[in-house]
Subunit: 142 residues, 2 copies
DNA sequence: ACCACCTGTAACCATTGTAGTTACAATCGT
DNA sequence: ACGATTGTAACTACAATGGTTACAGGTGGT
């Protein structure tokens, strides 16, 4: 299965917060932009808030970046919205047969390979910062 | 969501075929080893067969590697059992709002980043061959 | 020719993650 | 006090997954 589109939506939201930092970014406004339901946006923003990436305040509307976009990389965003814990991108074969010569040792062997692959992917995400995304967006615009 | 455990099961199966190449590897035997249902094994073996990694024959029982384990890498196995097409590890935000300044350009921007991350992961898988796995297994055994 | 055994596949079920939606209490600025 | 907004809970619909049963068809031994 694919990685949840929450990740893509989260990047959308953060980009929008950066580009439109003058305006009042309510969940409804963002939802209109992302073309989905405001609650979906609030859910994602809730995750981003817990991760310390955005600030929100109930009552008064609008969210804003909690840190300068140059200091936010996509790995943090990924971690914030991914509820699978790190190291479990690949599902393990949960009930290995202890009597099986393969099963006894395969866990560790696969774990090493899987973790290496997962880290390689995450390192690529870590290289990209939010302001790079925003720059690409604005440049593509004109 | 995690990547389907079919991948892990496939590696199990292939390792077993390599290590136990003398025996008769019926789906039921493998299922006992993997500790699951024979039909699950047959499904995975079916995928591996379509990918040209194993040989099977209806009627007579048993599957066998179609190529020497040194020439089978984990990326091929991954591709064989992953029914999401390549390039879609990350789900895109499917209905971008054309009126949104972010939505207009974000597709291409994210696509580049996502593809880079996905490739990084796949390159790691491509580095590992089946006989390396089998070697690790046997060595850990004693 | 028969038979035991096996594969390949369809069908069905339970579980899980996800996105969308409605509803509403709590919160804040004016 | 009021209107707007957030934060959640609850519910629905849907797709992927893994397990299971069932069965048609192939294969080799006897
Ligand atoms: S436990 Fe996975 S093959 Fe034996
Ligand atoms: S934020 Fe995704 S389309 Fe505007």
């Amino acid at each position: 299965m694919s990685i949840s589109s929450r990740f893509a939506v989260a990047i959308h939201i953060l980009s929008l917060l950066d580009i439109n930092k003058e305006g009042r970014n309510t969940s409804e406004f963002i939802a209109g932009s992302v073309n989905t339901n405001p609650v979906v946006i609030r859910r994602v923003i809730g995750l981003l808030g817990k991760a310390g990436l955005v600030h929100t305040s109930p009552g008064v509307g609008g969210a804003s970046l909690a840190r300068p976009p140059r200091e936010i990389n996509l790995l943090e965003v990924y971690r914030a919205v991914q509820n699978d814990p790190p190291g479990e991108l690949f599902a393990a074969h949960d009930k290995p047969n202890p009597k099986c010569p393969v099963g006894q040792n395969i866990q560790g062997t696969l774990d090493t390979v899987f973790k290496r692959a997962e880290s390689a992917m995450e390192n690529e995400l870590a290289k990209v910062t939010l302001d790079q995304i925003a720059f690409d967006l604005v440049r593509g615009d004109r």
